[in-house]
């Protein structure tokens, strides 16, 4: 059969060209693959969920608790279908797998970016792929947020309201943008169909296209080589071919990863829609976004109530906290490859300790996001007595500047320590070598 196919499709050429492609081996190089596997699991479970989900926020009678003929118990159709999915065999499990995988995909993508940043893999010639990666991160977050809204329980409803008001806080065009994005004044009759369209068509389409571009560029430009490859064969590609060495490694990783996700989903429930109930006037105590957006939430919690008019547009704390500051943070990440001045093409992943400033800034940036994420727990910090209403903002703002600065200098100190150890090793080796010559 191989011969038959080969005569028609020239499989052997594909084999030579692509399937023998060498993959460099290093454990940190699997993070991107985990992100890709997550995307595949998300698409598969997402298709299954879409088969039973009803994208509508019109009110229907809750078949689980119909009420009376005079006073029927009406719930949004989307929420009702989420209840039905939960009641179906394996339905709740599907929702949990989808939810957990989404979280893990963002986590893997973030750690993958950290690997790329700290080893300098974003440098020439791979700047474009860093930018595509940034877009992937942004669109992953948007996909996750729109997915959050779909069960349309009270939690999703409150989240959507905040998202709407963030969009509406853009000066000059905000209200129009919010209405155009979410099908009219909140909550528009078409809001769930609209968000559903984003979540299952528009955003996954963008994600898939960007993922394809990301892979193609990686293949075209070659992956950065691990440091040991320099010793094995200088400026040659060292790695294992896709067929048949890399494939079993990937398969093993996929199965292990899928197994861990199923294990998580089996024992740790996520987003119990029954608990939150359908949209209502009762707010949810201590509502929080997912962890990867907690920093934006934290900024909103500690930003003072600023508001001023500028050229006829209204600039308020919500716009500054939820749009301006995150845009600056993301802009800084976009600018990373442009700050690098090297002219040479990069072949080998760099040792982070050889670039202490880059390492320090990266750690400081992550600490900044961590401080802001902690600020997202401001109400809990206050009610547990660690902070008081009066000093919470001051303490958290001081931490915003102090902790990143401290961690920068801490990193410099650690790097200096590591370097002096390495130099001592080097000296030892040369003296020993000298002795051996005697």
């Amino acid at each position: 059969m191989n011969q038959w196919l080969d005569d028609r499709l020239h499989i052997s050429r594909l084999n030579d060209k692509f399937l023998r492609k060498a993959f460099p081996v290093h454990h940190s190089f699997f993070l991107g693959e985990i992100t890709l596997f997550s995307l595949i699991i998300l698409i598969l479970t997402g298709i299954l969920l879409a088969l039973s989900y009803e994208p509508s926020n019109s009110m229907v009678v809750n078949s689980f608790d119909p009420g009376t003929a005079d006073a029927p118990n009406l719930v949004p159709a989307a929420y009702h279908s989420a209840l039905k999915i939960n009641a179906a065999p394996f339905g709740d499990m599907l929702r949990r797998i989808h939810h957990w995988t989404a979280n893990i995909m963002v986590a893997a993508a973030v750690i993958h970016m950290m690997r790329v940043y700290f080893t300098g893999a974003f440098k020439k010639p791979r700047e474009i792929n860093w930018w595509i990666g940034m877009l992937l991160l942004i669109f992953s977050a948007l996909t996750a947020v729109t997915g959050y809204v779909l069960p349309y329980d009270n939690y999703a409803y409150n989240t959507l309201k905040v998202i709407y008001s963030i969009a509406a806080s853009i000066p000059w065009v905000g209200e129009w943008v919010a209405q155009a994005a979410f099908a009219g004044k909140f909550p528009g009759d078409g809001v769930i169909p609209r968000v559903y369209g984003y979540h299952i068509m528009l955003l996954p389409g963008i994600l898939l296209a960007l993922t394809g571009a990301h892979m193609l560029l990686m293949i075209k430009q070659k992956h950065t080589q691990p440091q040991y490859a320099k010793r094995v064969a200088y400026k040659k590609i060292v790695g294992v071919p896709l067929m048949t060495q890399q494939t079993p490694i990937m398969l093993m990783l996929t199965l292990l990863f899928a197994g861990i996700i199923v294990l998580f989903s089996a024992f740790i429930p996520v987003h119990p829609v029954e608990y939150f109930g359908p949209p209502s006037t009762t707010p949810i105590d201590n509502i929080k976004p997912d962890w990867y957006l907690l920093w934006v939430f934290g900024v909103l919690a500690i930003i003072p109530g600023i508001e001023f008019d500028f050229l006829g547009g209204n600039i308020n704390s919500e716009f500054i906290g939820a749009i301006l500051l995150p845009t600056l943070a993301i802009g800084a990440m976009f600018a990373v490859p442009m700050l690098d001045r090297s002219r040479e093409n990069l072949y080998y992943a760099e040792n982070p300790t050889n670039h202490p400033v880059r390492l320090g800034i990266g750690v400081a940036f992550m600490m900044l996001l961590a401080v802001w994420s902690v600020a997202g727990y401001k109400p809990e910090l206050i009610s547990s007595g660690i902070l008081s209403t009066e000093n919470a903002n001051t303490v958290l703002w001081i931490a915003t500047f102090l902790i990143p600065a401290l961690s920068y200098f801490f990193v410099q100190a650690v790097v200096r320590g590591i370097r002096s150890l390495r130099e001592a090793d080097e000296r030892d080796r040369t003296t020993h070598a000298a002795h051996a010559d005697d």
Partner: protein, 222 residues
């Protein structure tokens, strides 16, 4: 020998094609802007989406007793959520919950505890006061504070308000106090005495738009 000498064309073929394609793309692209019209549906001001109006009865918003008129005895220093209930064009009762920003917060404090900047004229005997329950920051529904009794706290971003002092902001990011709604007592019932005294969320930073809405409502009712 040719009779005609070949003249250089005024524009090159390449340039012509580029300009033609550019124009086509631009015209086609601009025409797609019409799709934005379908993205943003028209807003129709129906009775259930109107803001609280003079004469509206305040009814419970809590699910178990939704639609039941609120009596003075139901109120305390703990927040009670209410919807305004008015009439639609056929004269039938309609709870104005089509706009979720119509949700109201009601308090009843002992006489003398409510002070300026609360508008005491707009309260019932200086004891019962009604505010918009929608945080002026991100539009979440504000609750009683679980940290300091007698204060309100928004669960979304910890905006805090003082309901005894005109719901001024005492902490967190909200830019404006909650809008106060004038109310009066009518027998056992609480009745709305007019529009919000200041623009409520989401008009809190756009007085002109709030005035437009009021005008639109008055025209619709006339």
């Amino acid at each position: 020998m040719t009779r005609y000498k070949r003249q250089d064309p005024e524009i090159t073929r390449r340039k012509f094609i580029n300009v033609a394609m550019g124009t086509t793309a631009a015209v086609g692209g601009v025409s797609l802007l019409s799709a934005l019209g379908s993205a943003n549906p028209v807003f129709r001001l129906t009775a259930d989406k109107m803001p609280p109006l003079e004469g509206d009865i305040l009814v419970h918003a809590e699910e178990s007793k939704e639609g039941r008129p609120i009596a003075l005895a139901d109120l305390s220093d703990q927040l009670v959520r209410a919807w305004p209930m008015g009439k639609d064009e056929n004269g039938a009762d309609v709870i104005r919950k089509g706009d979720p920003n119509n949700i109201l917060a009601l308090y009843r404090f002992p006489a003398g505890e409510i002070v300026a900047p609360t508008n005491l004229e707009a309260t019932v005997d200086g004891q019962v006061v009604a505010y918009s329950d929608v945080c002026t920051h991100a539009g979440c529904s504000v609750s009683d504070s679980d940290i300091n009794a007698g204060e309100m706290r928004c669960p979304c971003h910890s905006g805090q308000f003082a309901p005894k002092r005109g719901a001024v902001v005492i902490g967190g990011p909200p830019p404006k106090p909650l809008a106060q709604l004038p109310i009066r007592q009518d027998g056992e019932r609480l009745v709305v005495a007019g529009f919000f005294l200041t623009p409520p969320y989401p008009y809190h930073n756009n007085e002109a738009e709030w005035d437009n809405l009021k005008q639109e409502v008055e025209e619709a009712l006339a």
